[in-house]
């Protein structure tokens, strides 16, 4: 069934098709439509779930942690300051190894108040132990929520699906809604091995002394290592069933490319356009879409970039005092490797500023003709 859906409603449909049993959420722009729609779905019976209208994002995450621990597939959604308020419990969800799926609509953090796109909110949750996927369009929003549960339940890690405020959240696109029976077969009901069960009483998340803590944390890290291949396997399997294939990264025209643009989220779409135009003019350029950020797809990035002369990384985010975050991660991934390109880091599009094909063209021209810039990350599109 095809429907014209805004990104937020695509997320709601993803949760509905995944047959989540518990939703807890608190309103924040630009996420609000997701939970409004889910509230409607719970109300009209099309989704058999309990909707907890909590008093804060902190309580939203606290309650889904406990419902998931009681053995029920749980969902929440937030954005920006709401995600920041959850921070303590993001660590808790991952440390407790709970396969919760959350949608985060990427929005700039205050102050000053800004409700528009910026990846700083979720990227600053990098080390909380969540799998993070950055998606490009509304179809991918819906598909990724369903895949999120398959990934999460396979490795016992929480998964965060991130997409851009307004550019996707409030924009309507045609979206194919998969058949529920097909989804049910592909994503069976949640059957945890351990949950809060009066017939088998045990304690969860208790005090761990130094003689055990490190081993438990090593297991968390190893689960992330597994999540890399699992994300690729799940994306492949999803494609075989539903006809749309996904992976940790997507390489476009990279085989013979001399220069590669690495980019994420909705800004990938204008970059695709630029690649096509430049290819038509004979330039050997490719595109690396960074879908997965945690765990970081180190092997995939190395394989794509090996033998290239230049790679441009365009970041809609900044680690203050360091620079573009994807650029920094990519540099880390290729360090100590032979035959790797020079990395050119660009920061642009913060707080809702557009990343247009013209802007990407300008960046490519600059990198193609010029010397590596003195700055670690160049800010592009600043007003004079």
């Amino acid at each position: 069934m095809k429907k014209v859906l805004m990104g937020n409603h695509a997320a709601s449909w993803g949760a509905r098709l995944s047959k989540v049993k518990m939703i807890a959420a608190y309103p924040i722009t630009p996420q609000t439509h997701i939970v409004e729609e889910l509230s409607e779905m719970c109300g009209d019976g099309s989704l058999d779930a309990k909707f907890l209208k909590v008093e804060s994002e902190h309580s939203a995450m606290a309650s889904v942690i406990s419902s998931q621990s009681t053995g029920v597939r749980s969902f929440t959604a937030t954005s920006a300051n709401g995600l920041a308020l959850m921070h303590e419990l993001l660590h808790w969800a991952a440390g407790a190894r709970l396969p919760i799926v959350m949608v985060n609509v990427n929005r700039a953090l205050a102050p000053g108040w800004n409700i528009w796109v910026d990846q700083g909110d979720s990227l600053s949750q990098r080390d909380t132990g969540w799998v993070q996927l950055y998606v490009e369009d509304n179809q991918e929003v819906l598909d990724s929520v369903i895949q999120g549960y398959r990934i999460a339940e396979q490795v016992n890690l929480p998964v965060m699906i991130c997409y851009d405020a307004f550019i996707l959240s409030h924009t309507y696109e045609p979206v194919d809604i998969p058949d529920q029976d097909l989804v049910d077969k592909w994503l069976p009901g949640y059957q945890p091995e351990h949950y809060l069960n009066p017939e088998k009483p045990s304690a969860f998340n208790g005090l761990v002394m130094p003689d055990n803590y490190m081993e438990i944390r090593y297991k968390l890290h190893m689960a992330h290592e597994r999540a890399k291949s699992v994300t690729n396997e799940v994306g492949q399997s999803f494609g075989e069933t539903f006809g749309r294939y996904y992976g940790a990264v997507e390489a476009v025209e990279c085989d013979d490319a001399e220069m590669v643009i690495a980019i994420s989220s909705s800004a990938t779409s204008p970059a695709r356009l630029v690649i096509r135009e430049l290819r038509d003019k004979g330039m050997k350029i490719g595109l690396l879409k960074m879908r997965m950020f945690r765990p970081f797809p180190t092997e995939e990035v190395r394989a794509v970039l090996k033998g290239k002369s230049k790679a441009v990384v365009i970041d809609r985010n900044c680690s203050w005092g360091k620079g573009g975050i994807f650029a920094d991660e990519i540099k880390g991934a290729i360090s100590n490797q032979e035959d790797m390109p020079a990395i050119y880091s660009y920061i642009t599009g913060l707080g809702g500023r557009s990343i247009t094909p013209d802007l990407i063209h300008e960046i490519v021209t600059e990198v193609e003709s010029g010397e590596p810039p003195a700055e670690l990350s160049v800010w592009k599109g600043l007003k004079q």
Partner: protein, 298 residues
């Protein structure tokens, strides 16, 4: 009153509490009433330690440790999951200290109470952050010593009245209880469990190291708290109808204060001041208990 004192113990030996710990007595009696078909959630508090470190559990019920400010939100999540699984008969117990209830957890408690979640919330009140080493909370009584309110500037301002805050939410059932009246405590836990919606018990829980009393004095001090009217035992139904459960002997507050190291710096004026405040609060409680309650069906 419960005439048949339940003999089943769901709190096993080997728990890591201090001697004379009131919080442990409260848990023991709560579980005697609630039984095995209960899921317990505990935020950061003394009980994070008492329950035993990984992989042990001193309770014969499933237990989830949760973040400091989240007891009521966690209980709400467990309730939601149980309801979705058709396990309406399984009880949910949030068991938190005064810090996790009066201070950092007040927002999530207010949220859960306003939503009228079907949970039992028990606050064991030892009147300070005891697990971290006796720092003042908003449940610490006026003029008491703690490590953050040394005798040069003891706790200022009265103890927060948590039952007034909850009755302001029109909570179906809330009550005070004391380790010195275990039958009364258990009867209240039973009522709380039978309440459809949120039920809250404020359980007075002496802490020998924090209060500077010897461990065998816990029950004696708890009894004095009631008999001096410092901690009256009462219930509030639907936030409106008050019922006082134990008639205090009306002993002077000095009898309570002089037995505890945390009040040893008080002078005569301090004691008189506390007596006046206690007398006033008791009058307010009496008046409330004599008021004709508002009934929706009238």
């Amino acid at each position: 009153m419960i005439n048949d004192y339940p003999t089943e113990e769901l709190l096993k030996s080997g728990c890591l509490s201090c001697q004379g710990c009131g919080a442990t007595i409260v848990m023991r009696h709560c579980l005697k009433v609630l039984g095995k078909n209960t899921i317990c959630t505990i935020p950061a508090c003394c009980w994070s330690i008492i329950a035993g470190n990984w992989p042990y559990n001193t309770l014969e019920v499933p237990l989830i440790h949760t973040a400091f400010e989240t007891a009521a939100a966690s209980a709400s999540g467990i309730r939601a999951a149980l309801d979705m699984k058709g396990k309406q008969d399984t009880r949910v117990l949030a068991f938190a200290g005064d810090g996790g209830t009066f201070d950092i957890g007040l927002q999530s408690l207010s949220g859960a109470t306003e939503r009228n979640e079907d949970i039992v919330y028990v606050c064991y009140d030892n009147e300070a952050y005891m697990n971290t080493g006796i720092q003042r909370s908003s449940a610490t009584p006026e003029k008491a010593w703690t490590t953050t309110t040394p005798t040069s500037h003891p706790k200022g301002g009265p103890k927060k009245n948590i039952l007034q805050i909850l009755s302001g939410h029109k909570i179906p059932y809330c009550a005070t209880a004391s380790v010195a009246w275990p039958e009364d405590l258990m009867a209240k836990v039973k009522k709380a469990a039978e309440t459809k919606g949120t039920a809250f018990i404020h359980a007075y829980s002496p802490c020998p190291p924090g209060w500077k009393i010897s461990s065998e004095k816990s029950i004696e001090i708890a009894r004095l708290a009631v008999n001096t009217k410092i901690f009256p035992l009462y219930e509030i139904f639907d936030g409106e109808e008050y019922r006082i459960n134990v008639e205090p002997k009306g002993l002077p507050v000095e009898e309570y204060l002089k037995r505890q190291g945390r009040f040893s710096h008080l002078d005569k004026e301090d004691v008189e001041y506390i007596q006046k405040r206690v007398d006033y609060e008791w009058k307010v409680l009496l008046q409330r208990s004599m008021m004709e309650p508002f009934h929706m069906n009238m």
